[in-house]
């Protein structure tokens, strides 16, 4: 089991690294997709079937395509003329390391509070559904409202562009 875990983590980390290290932006987007896939496999490895498949469907099927469309419709698809790395690469690295340290500390702290592995609950799709419309109905509705607002906003922005011409 742990061999597979190390393999999937290697793929995820590799994908994420290449997403920032490659020159061609579309290559970066595809490497990001590999990272998403790795994440999905990690979810599946933890028996969270719904989360894993939803990750594939939403991230790879929609978000990755959105990212790629955005790259293509702007000029990000041209290979950059100068260097890819900014001048502030080192300070950026330091900031990223700091954030990672804080998050890692938070996760490790909370791991002591959670029960052991043997008792991790298996949340089936039905339990998730019941929870969503039962206990968590208010966040669900707020997210739905947010999505509606975003869709309407996108339509209005596109409409304005047409009329602006």
């Amino acid at each position: 089991m742990s061999v597979i875990f190390w393999l999937i983590s290697a793929i995820t980390l590799g994908g994420a690294l290449f997403a920032v290290l490659l020159k061609n932006t579309v290559h970066c987007a595809l490497a990001l997709t590999v990272a998403f896939a790795g994440l999905a496999f990690l979810f599946l490895g933890l028996d969270a079937q719904f989360a894993g498949f939803a990750q594939i469907m939403v991230y790879i099927g929609a978000v990755a395509i959105l990212v790629v469309f955005a790259i293509l419709l702007t000029r990000g698809s041209e290979t950059p003329k100068g260097s890819v790395y900014s001048r502030y690469a080192f300070s950026g690295l330091v900031a990223a390391a700091g954030v990672f340290a804080v998050l890692g500390w938070a996760v490790l702290q909370s791991a002591r509070v959670l029960p052991n592995e043997a008792q991790t609950p298996i949340a089936t799709a039905q339990q998730i559904g019941v929870a969503l419309v039962g206990r968590y109905v208010l966040p669900l509705e707020i997210v739905a409202l947010l999505l509606t607002v975003a869709t309407i906003g996108a339509v209005i922005v596109a409409l304005h562009e047409k009329e602006g011409k």
Binding site: N24, V26, H27, L30, T33, Q49, F50, F53, A54, I56, M57, I60, G61, A62, A64, I65, V68, F69, L72, T124, A125, Q126
Partner: protein
């Protein structure tokens, strides 16, 4: 005896596994199932390619290919030899790595979808609780492959074709999901085996297939439309229309890679038909209760081939839809109707057993269809033409 015939593949597999040590058996069982799928469906693909050409020919008052073997039966072999021996041309400025990966990603994503289809009693490769979700996740991955193919070819037409294909596939994916959702609502489970078992009951001689309910019929229609659009089949084949975009996103592919795209498209057709028959047509269950002696996998594959025939029939009949007509149709008619159908399904569930729910739901579905059709698919009516002649 019929029971044996029905379970013959399971018994065969168990007999082969009997030769192996106990530790290896689960893994070997899965491998055997994978080998079976990888052998059966490409063989079915070869047959379908021939049947499509012959079927289209007959619909167009001509025979299809009939020179290569008796009735052209060896034509797929000739096609296979041709595609294997053609030169593999990759454009110099194309992105070689992604150009190579795109057909592979497509074929892998499509093959994965077969893992959850119940092809007979006890004949699922992987029996998951979230099987339907898995299937749609794999369908979403195949869109990425289409985009990769179009972009890596360094060709304006390929890119255009790929963008159109992805836009079309995303729009119709939502509809596919929502029409499948009605079935999940009634059955109460995402597992495909449970869905088939729920349809495997009979009142008198008639089965409880979902298509025989008003919401099921409407859902099946919308599912069929969405399935045709997802697999880029006529009349939704603008991304690969030969007269519009040369060959769309697979223009720059030749030889075996093109054959892989072709294979991917037809396999996607098979798996989406398989899912459609599982969700709406009762999967492996027999159409009448007295026909249950026929093996279940024969019913599954007959329904599959019937769906393929309907695909071919539609291809031979309908002209191609333009991109904007396609998108209009999806967002203005099919999606609202699918949402409305979802509400009617909920009403069906809550009206309880009896004849009332049949009448109410049928009336609602038909009225909704007709009204929505008139409102959203309104065509501009041009008045009488006026001519101005040059003096």
């Amino acid at each position: 005896m019929f029971q044996t015939f029905d379970q013959i593949f399971i018994l065969l597999r168990d007999w082969v596994l009997g030769f192996l040590p106990v530790g290896l058996r689960p893994g070997a069982g899965v491998v055997l199932g994978v080998v079976a799928i990888v052998c059966v469906f490409p063989a079915l693909f070869a047959l379908t390619v021939l049947l499509e050409r012959k079927g289209l020919g007959r619909m167009q008052n001509r025979p299809g290919p009939n020179r290569v073997g008796p009735f052209g039966l060896l034509q797929p072999i000739a096609d296979a030899i041709k595609s294997l021996t053609k030169e593999d041309i990759v454009p110099t400025t194309a992105n070689g790595f992604i150009h190579f990966l795109a057909p592979l990603v497509l074929v892998v994503a499509v093959f994965m979808g077969f893992a959850v289809l119940p092809m007979g009693r006890n004949m699922v490769l992987v029996d998951m609780d979230c099987a339907l979700l898995f299937y749609f996740a794999m369908g979403a991955s195949s869109e990425l492959a289409v985009f990769m193919a179009g972009w890596s070819s360094r060709n304006k037409y390929s890119l255009l074709g790929a963008m159109r294909a992805v836009a079309q596939m995303i729009s119709y994916e939502v509809i596919l999901l929502l029409s499948g959702l009605a079935v999940v609502m009634i059955t109460g489970s995402l597992s495909l085996t449970r869905i088939v078992e729920a349809q495997n009951q009979y009142t008198g001689i008639f089965p409880h297939w979902n298509i025989f309910t008003p919401w099921g019929l409407a859902g099946f229609l919308m599912y069929a439309i969405a399935a045709t659009a997802e697999t880029n089949r006529s009349p939704f084949d603008l991304p690969e229309g030969e007269s519009e975009l040369v060959a769309g996103y697979h223009t720059e592919y030749s030889g075996f890679k093109f054959a892989l795209f072709f294979l991917g498209e037809y396999l996607a057709m098979f798996s989406i038909s398989g899912l459609g028959s599982t969700l709406f047509l009762g999967g492996w269950s027999a159409p009448f209760s007295f026909l249950q002696w026929v093996p279940s996998w024969i019913w599954f594959f007959s329904k599959l081939m019937l769906s393929i025939f309907v695909f071919i029939w539609m291809r031979g009949t309908l002209p191609r839809l333009r991109q904007d007509q396609l998108m209009n149709f999806a967002w203005k008619f099919v999606l609202p109707f699918t949402l409305y159908n979802l509400m009617v399904t909920a009403l069906w569930r809550f009206l309880g057993e009896g004849w009332q729910r049949w009448v109410v739901c049928t009336v609602l579905v038909v009225a909704g269809y007709v009204l929505l059709g008139r409102v959203s698919m309104r065509r501009e009516h041009f008045g009488p033409r006026s001519y101005r002649y040059a003096e």
